[in-house]
Every structure is written in C-alpha cells, then in structure tokens.
Amino acid sequence: MAGLEDLYREIILDHYRSPRNRGELAVPPAHRVEGFNPLCGDEVVVYLEVNDGVLTDLRIAGQGCSISQSSASMMSAAVKGRPVEQARKLIRSFKAMMSIHEHSLGGEDSTEDPEDQSEADTLKPEDLGELAALQGVVKFPVRIKCATLSWNALAQGLDEIAAGVLPLDRT
C-alpha cells in the first residue's frame, strides 16, 4: 500500500511552502488561462507570454492543495524561458507519467494506450528532473487531477496563443 511519503515527497512540500513564479502578468501582452478542478473547487490561473516561439515569462495564481500548487510551481520552473516546442514535449511527458493509473482500472485501453504512439516524443520520468517526484501521485488516483490541473491550463494557453485567440475573445 502506498504511504503518504510516496505522495508528499520533500521536494513537493518545498515547492508548496515556497512556490516559484507566483503572481500575475499584465493582460495583454500576457495570455491568461484558468483551470478548475471540479472535484475540490481548486482553481489555478496561468499567465504566459510567448515571444518568437519562446515561453519568455510565466506566472501562477489561484489556490489549491499542496499537490496542485507544487505541481504548478515545478511546472513553471521547468518551462519558463524554454521554447514552446520543448514546453509541449514536457506537457506530453508529464501527462504520460500521470496516465499510468489507467492500467489499474482495467479499461479496454489499459494495455495499449493510444498515446503510446507518441512515446518516442516523450521523456521518461527519470529524465524529468524534479518533476519525477510527482510520480507518486499516480498511486493516489483521485489526486491526479490536482497534479495535472496547471499543465492542462498551460496546454490550453499555448493552443490558444497558437490559434491566435486573444484573451478578450473568451468569455
């Protein structure tokens, strides 16, 4: 049985207590995306600025549990200053790491995840640096949504920027 220490690794608690890149950016020029976890009511707000294909700045606002807050903080540290394509690769890799639990549910796709096709373009957990500390979350399936909340918001934001959606277009 998974113990609490599998979930709350020291690096996670550190990011929870001292979150990185916390704050807001002026919109525009920054892009603002909200993510909601319907399970617990947590919300994360991701501000991102992309210039010439590079994620030049990123800030995290909102509130949530230690897992959602530390995941957002670790994400911000991992993608800030990186080219958008690298950020997307990190998002894919992180979500692949978080989808392992599908196997335990015994669904039809449990042995053959369609996302495996892109496996060649994802990083293994051991290559994710301190993000790998969040791997223990998959042993607590209810908390996976906490961990992926900010990543989904970031993905949505990058998609919207690529599609030319202005923040004011959304209601």
Binding site: M1, G3, L4, L7, Y8, L13, L39, C40, G41, D42, E43, Q63, G64, C65, S66, I67, F140, R143, C146
Partner: protein, 418 residues
C-alpha cells in the same frame, strides 16, 4: 410487525457489530468512518433483506401473475408504505414515489411541476445553502422558461437570514429549500418559510436528504408540498430515492420519464398515464433497493429516531468541545456551535492553512474517512469565502472514540506539514 424501541443512549459498540464494513481495518487501523453525510454504511439486516429477496422471490413487479412475481410486487409496495409511515405521509400508497436518488426526485418536480404547473412570470426562491441537486435543476428550468431565481441569504451565524423573506417571496411560485445543510449542519426553521410561501400561493419543495436519516420527520408538521430524500444516506442501498408529494399536486402533474409501468394505455398516436404513484415510475423500478430501504427503516425505527437524534446532538457537542479545546487556535468550524439541537452532526472544518484535500489525505493514512471539497455546494462555499472544507459527519455507529481519533490525527497532520 411490531418494533421494540429501546430506551436510553445508543450502544455504539453493539451497533458497530451490525455493520460488516466497520469490522475491517484501513491502513492497519480501525476504520473510522466520518462521511455519512455523503453516504452512510449498511447494517447486516439491510444486506440480508436484499439477498433474501433476490434468492427467494425476485421477478418484475406489477406484471407477472405467478407466485414469486406477486410476492415481489407485495414486498415492493410494502416498502412504499413503510417509507410513507416513516415520514407520516397521509396517503403512502399514492404519495410516495420511488426514484433513483434525491437528485432525480428534485428533477422530477422541476420537469413536471416546473415546466407545466409553475405559473408564467412567477419567480423561484432558493437558498444560498442548497446542494447543487436543488440548484441546477432550477437553473436549467430558469434558462428554459426565463424564470427569475432568487436566493435567501445565509447569515454570519450560518443560519438562513429571513429578514428579507417577505420582500423576496413577493411574486414567487415555488420555493426550494434544504431542511438541513450538508455543509454547515444547520437545520432550517421551515415554518416561517412555509407560511410565507403558502401566503404567496407558492409550493415548497424540501430537500430532506440530510434530515430524514437523522431526525423524526412528519411531512404534515413540516407543511411542505414536496419532500425529496435518498436511501443510501439512511443505512439503505444506493440506487433508490424518494419523492413525497401532496396527492392533489402529484395528480395534476404530467409524467416525468416515459416508458413501461407509467402508462395505462399506449396507442400509436398517444398514451394515457397510469395512476399515482406508478405514473412517475417509468421502467422497472429499484425493487431490491426498495426492500433494502424498508429494512433500513426498520433498523432505524428499532433504534428510535429520537434516540438517533439525541445521540448525534450529544456527539456533535462532544466533538466541538474536544476539537476546540485541543486545537482551538488552529481550527475554524463552519456552522452553528450553539443551540445544537437545531443543527445536525455535520462539522465542516478548516485546520491551520492546510488544504482540505491534504488534511483528508493524512487522515486517510490514520484510517479516518472524511470528506474534503466543496460538498456539491459551490455557491455556499463562495459565500463562506473558501474553495473547500474538510467535513466530518456522524451517524449511529460513531462514538467519542472516533472524535478522539480525529483529534489525534489533526496533530499528525500538523506535524506532517510543519
């Protein structure tokens, strides 16, 4: 069937032995179940009644002419009468409708009464402390019919603020109100609301999901027009809920879901609905669940609802004492802490600056089950200024040892997150 009601306080130790699930251990510890407001556990008597039904007499109801079908029908209709007696319904045989859960019961009223009998240009009055089940069906109706929705506010004392009741009631055709908050534990003082509603010509729809399992309920004394509750919060099975309604209203209402059972005649160009209550029970109903609910009611009646209520008031009082004495500076209780008989055994908590999910996770490792989140009451959470709370809720199988375990585990959580 005669029921012997014992006197004096509940014997929690003996009661726990009746609940198989409470015999197991969680993370190597005694399972401390403090989430009955979400769903209660079932005694052996309920499980046995459902097994016995399936093993001896299951068949579809109101159809077969053979012996086991007659018996299944008899048991199903006996359950309806037991439910009706439990809430003092004047005519259980026509006024008690079985649904999937309380949510479906409320949706039934919103669809059937709300779309067809709620007069044009009449508003709907809800309260800020409703569960989503008593908000969303009305939001859907409002979007469809352009009905105005109003809300009775929650005061700083965690009770409904009725100071503006008369003004808010003006022009209202339907009132939806929770009889007990699943977040705050507040028991609603219904009588001024019912009086004002009826004076305005409005009907009152009560969500009694949290009250019926824990208090003696008399629909005539409450004065409401509809009452919804669910089986799985009152020691019964999942998959069965109840709508009680005044016969004359139910009679005037068109059917909700269409299908078998709810018709008297079907032609290629139309249908004639069945009589009450079957008019509202389309398709094969939850038969074994009705049998299980009947057994759950028998179990509660043998304990005596007044003893159940006294036990929970006592436990809530001890919980507030123990928790505040030991963790007072670190703990905030969202809900009334005085006049305890006017609140149920539901304690919503904030502990230090810990997120409710993190707290619940540490408590789980200690074998303690509590609910963490918005409790399907997001408008109320906004009113309270939080996104989530940790909630402990009590039932007949909880004792002071559970409160001690909770209190000890708060220390563990405090140490863990530092």
């Amino acid at each position: 069937m005669t029921t012997t009601v014992e006197a004096g306080p509940l014997d929690v130790t003996a009661l726990r032995r009746e609940f198989p699930i409470l015999q197991q251990r969680s993370h190597g510890r005694r399972l401390v179940y403090l989430d009955s407001a979400s769903s209660s556990q079932r005694p052996r008597a309920v499980l046995d009644a459902m097994d016995h039904y399936y093993e001896t007499t299951h068949a579809n109801v109101h159809r077969g002419v053979y012996a086991i079908a007659e018996e299944a029908t008899r048991q199903f209709e006996m359950a309806r009468r037991a439910v009706g007696r439990f809430i003092k319904a004047p005519r259980p045989e026509v006024e008690v409708i079985f649904t999937k859960n309380a949510t479906e019961a409320l949706n039934l009223v919103a669809h059937s009464y709300g779309r067809h009998l709620l007069p044009d240009r009449k508003a709907i009055l809800l309260t800020e402390l409703e569960h989503h089940a008593n908000i969303v069906p009305w939001l859907m109706l409002a979007a469809e019919r352009g009905v105005e929705l109003r809300y009775l506010p929650v005061g700083d004392d965690y009770r409904l603020d009725l100071r503006d009741l008369d003004r808010l009631m003006d022009g209202v055709g339907l009132v939806g109100v929770s009889t007990m908050s699943n977040v705050l534990g507040t028991i609603t003082d219904l009588s001024p609301i019912v009086q004002a509603a009826h004076a305005a010509g409005a009907v009152v729809v009560a969500d009694a999901s949290q009250l019926v399992p824990h208090r003696s309920v008399d629909v005539r004394a409450l004065g409401v027009d509809f009452l919804a509750f669910t089986g799985h919060k009152m020691l019964g099975p999942t998959g069965i809920g109840v709508l009680w309604g005044r016969e004359e209203l139910l009679d005037a209402m068109p059917p909700f879901l269409g299908g078998g059972e709810m018709i008297r005649d079907v032609r290629l160009d139309g249908f004639t609905p069945n009589d009450l209550p079957w008019k509202f029970e389309a398709g094969t109903p939850p038969i074994a669940e009705a049998v299980g609910l009947h057994a759950a009611i028998g179990f509660l009646e043998s304990l005596g609802m007044n003893r159940v209520a006294a036990h929970e008031t006592d436990l809530t009082s001890r919980a507030i004492e123990i928790l505040m004495e030991r963790h007072g500076d670190d703990l905030k209780i969202f809900g009334p802490t005085t006049d305890l008989p006017a609140r149920g055994g539901v304690l919503s908590l904030a502990f230090r600056d810990l997120h409710a999910h993190d707290l619940a996770q540490v408590l789980d490792a200690e074998g303690i089950c509590i609910r963490a989140g918005h409790h399907c009451a997001k408008p109320l959470m906004r009113r309270l200024g939080v996104t989530a709370t940790a909630r402990a809720s009590f039932y007949v199988y909880n004792g002071e040892d559970d409160i001690q375990a909770l209190s000890d585990a708060l220390d563990v959580a405090a140490a863990f997150f530092g």
